[in-house]
Amino acid sequence: MNLTLHVWRQKGPQDKGKLETYQVKGVSEDQSFLEMLDDLNEDLIKGGKDPVAFDHDCREGICGMCSQVINGKAHGGQERTTVCQLHMRSFNDGDEIFIEPWRARAFPIQKDLIVDRNALEVVMQSGGYTSCHTGGVADGNAILIPKPDADYAMDAAECIGCGACVASCPNSSAMLYTSAKVAQLAVLPQGKGEAKARVKNMTEAMLDEGFGNCTNHYECQEACPKGINVKFIAKLNREYMKSMV
């Protein structure tokens, strides 16, 4: 199939970017979206132009590196799918495709489709852990965690930290990301001791890093390639209220 791409090009963080139009020809429907971009880049290099810079790594939907808004939807809008797992069979010959980076104040654009997601790191560093020491911990079976709790924690822990929740949120809030970690650790006995400090510190860090507030649009849940549910945000809210009393 042949496609028309409108790709966000921006030389550096301080530069003004704009959408550039490219034609790609002979795309196979078995190719992944990123392989289609690889093709585009090969053409650009051969034509003496600068290839499009984009983040990607594992190409199997788990590392969370890839980050593109495709036709107005983070990761392209296919259910539970990252850009790297999106295949060209979802598109038709002659389609026009708009490709933009994550946009949020907390995610400054570095080049083309690459953004700086360090703000997510800071949120995690502010409390996304249990303060256990290496060694000197109890036997794994000394703490019983019934299956429903373990499953709940696992549902939350599936977050890959890609930032699609932020990119899709009208407020650029990182609440889904933050809540996934808060909820995972709040439901587990190991995490309960620090639950109060954790929810306070992590939500505070989220705001300090320039993310917006959650106003319950739930766009994040739709965009999340791992299907993280907004019930974890509700859980975070509960945990926060508990921390106030």
Partner: protein, 222 residues
Amino acid sequence: MHLTTSTVGRKVLMAVTGLLLVGFIIVHLLGNLSIFAGTEAINIYAEKLHSLGPVVWIFRAVMLALFAVHITFGIQLSMENSTASPEAYAIKKRQITTFSAESMIYTGVILLVFVVYHLLHFTMHVVHTDATDAINTLVNGRPDVYSMVKLSFEKAFVSLVYIAAMFALFFHLGHGLSSFVQTLGFNNGPSQSKVIAVGKLVAVVFLIGYAMIPFVFLVGIK
């Protein structure tokens, strides 16, 4: 104070004040509906309210405080949120959020303006005095609220403003009602879609309940 500075604290404040305001509009609606129980009923209701004296003032003070909190934080949060997402996408597709949710700040401001207008109209009688003068007439020893309402809403402009405002309320509640459930942490996943549906249904009830009053006078059913 975490309650007034943190992201969740302020969200909770928005939800709780919003909920109390909803409590108020429930009572207000029930009172209003007495207009359908004959010309006397609403006059009796109004007299009863006024006889409460200081309680009314305490009530008004509380309402003012609730409004102040709800509006202040609503504006503050909206401003923060627009700062957080400064650059727009060339193309952005909404996937699940609604017009209701996206227009909260606008419907909120409309409601604020409306409330001021509404107070100037029916409480302070500063606007539409030709209609509100009816209150100075006593019917069976009570101020004639019924006629004041009737004369007001027979003016197309007034009715349409009130009905339009009720649409703003409808959209505001369409997101607000289910939102407070989420904000206060009552969402286990499967319940979410039901809560959203119930929220919208209740918003419709308010829309019909409130808008019916100007509507019936406007079209002359009453």
